[in-house]
């Protein structure tokens, strides 16, 4: 059986270089069909859906080793999730990392024109590679998305191809997850949705920045984005003149 590696958050580049060639699971993404409630015996139901997903994936995939970032580029909840994973998966080696990488890789995907769902998928996939990004042309932004890659990608289809990405996702592409200035950056001229996962500490920053931005919508979602969340995004984009009300 192939040696398998799980990652939670963004481990430092020296780790990514080491595991290139292995079967690498990004455990933050929904990878298995098991219900998220499978995490409930180990993590509270009212907890970050990304980390609950990581636990469900880990229980099912049982990687040989899990690198979990517990530094300021991830979150405090990951510190405790690492302890729990060690306890419930005794055959898996759990390695805590603190990613302080400072080398900027650039953010070509965040600012290029591309179907928004594909753009987000490409950025999350880029975490598993230490190679430099391909150069891509930048486009003028019609809309902005600030925040982390959501647990539920379905609402991303509402955004136009010319949406620029800000926040931690931009830090992710830049391979500097602990980059406060980059994370807090937004463009006040671009109507922007400030998104955070429910029960995540980043909800505070998302709401604060949304209040600072003249044309913004603050949004948090838990496991899935409900119809009201999607309707809010759609209405915000329509009322900001980004998309048409009648399609």
């Amino acid at each position: 059986m192939a040696y398998s590696v799980g990652i939670i958050g963004i481990p430092p580049l020296e780790i990514i270089r080491k595991i290139e060639g292995c079967t690498v699971y990004d455990l933050d993404e929904p990878l298995v069909t098991n219900e998220i409630e499978a995490a409930s015996p180990f993590l509270p139901s009212v907890y970050c859906a990304i980390l609950r997903t990581a636990v469900v994936n880990s229980l099912s995939l049982k990687p040989n080793i899990i690198y979990i970032d517990v530094g300021p580029g991830k979150c405090d909840c990951a510190i405790h999730t690492a302890t729990i994973l060690e306890s419930i998966l005794p055959k898996t080696k759990v390695v805590r990392t603190i990613n302080r990488d400072k080398k900027d890789f650039g953010t070509p995907l965040c600012t290029t024109q591309m179907p928004f769902l594909d753009k987000m998928t490409a950025i999350t996939a880029s975490v598993r590679s230490a190679k430099p990004h391909k150069r891509l042309p930048s486009c003028p932004p019609q809309a902005g998305f600030w925040g982390v890659p959501p647990r539920d990608f379905s609402f991303l289809a509402l955004f136009p191809d010319t949406t620029h990405i800000y926040g931690w996702t931009r830090c992710m592409e830049n391979k500097t997850p602990d980059n406060r200035a980059l994370e807090e950056y937004f463009d006040p001229h671009v109507p922007t949705v400030f998104f955070a996962q429910s029960f995540c500490a980043k909800t505070a920053l998302a709401r604060h920045l949304a209040n600072c931005h003249p044309r913004s919508l603050y949004l948090d979602c838990d496991v899935t984005a409900g119809s009201s969340a999607k309707a809010k995004i759609q209405a915000f984009l329509e009322l900001s003149g980004v998309t048409d009300a009648l399609g």
């Binding site: 409900g226 009201s228 759609q234 915000f236 329509e238 009322l239 980004v242 048409d244």
Partner: protein
């Protein structure tokens, strides 16, 4: 051109040639109905073109409210939603279809079940802590069991719902109210702020505004 707001309990229609809105209980509506442009919970089923309810609400507010700063709250049968404008531009919005579910529907059920007339009920001093129509029912039953009159218990329930809606819409000093609960005087009087009642047809007004602006909102 026929426009409609297909709500959970009531459907509202506007023929632009007549310009007089009509109200029909949803359960009495002809299921083969087709309109040109619709909004509302059931709107996609009965129309060729659908407009998001928040967008319709916002455009209705722009058409009916003359001030550039306002909060417009729509309290329907199934959900509550609001839109807030500052300086003539959208500043915030919210749509509560889960925790705020079925508030209007529950109030109407209680009115019939207890045979109440909401125009004759006084606003009570205290309210129940109500986050959802269904969960709030247990407060009524508990109060009645402990000796409170049914009318008084329902009035506290209605006030609780009004306070919840007020908090949800970020506690404005002046609240513009739309939706079916505009017709409930106890509900309107239960808000702790000035309420400007716009009635049931604000979303239709929004659709009309969108149509008259040339089938689309301005594109950037």
């Amino acid at each position: 051109m026929l426009l409609a707001d297909f709500g959970t309990s009531y459907c509202k229609f506007l023929d632009l040639d007549e310009n007089i809105p009509r109200l029909i209980p949803t359960r009495e509506m002809d299921k083969s109905t087709k309109v040109d442009v619709a909004t509302g919970h059931n709107g996609k089923r009965y129309s060729a073109r659908y407009v998001n309810e928040l967008t319709a609400l916002a455009k209705g507010g722009e058409a009916l409210i003359s001030t550039p700063d306002f909060t417009l709250l729509d309290c329907g049968s199934r959900d509550i939603k609001y839109i807030r404008y500052e300086g003539g531009k959208v500043k915030d919005m919210g749509w509560n279809a889960e925790c705020g579910a079925s508030m209007g529907f529950t109030i109407e059920l209680l009115e019939r079940y207890y045979d109440l007339n909401f125009s004759q009920l006084e606003v009570p001093l205290s309210s129940f802590s109500v986050t959802c129509g269904v969960l709030g029912m247990s407060h009524i039953f508990d109060a009645v069991v402990s000796g409170e009159s049914e009318a008084a218990a329902v009035a506290r329930f209605v006030k609780g719902i009004a306070l919840n809606a007020y908090n949800f819409s970020d506690k404005p000093q002046v609240l513009y109210l739309s939706g079916g609960l505009c017709d409930n005087p106890l509900f309107v009087k239960s808000f702790p702020c000035q309420v400007m009642v716009l009635g049931r047809f604000v979303l239709l007004e929004g659709l009309k505004t969108i149509i008259q602006s040339g089938f689309s909102l301005s594109k950037k």
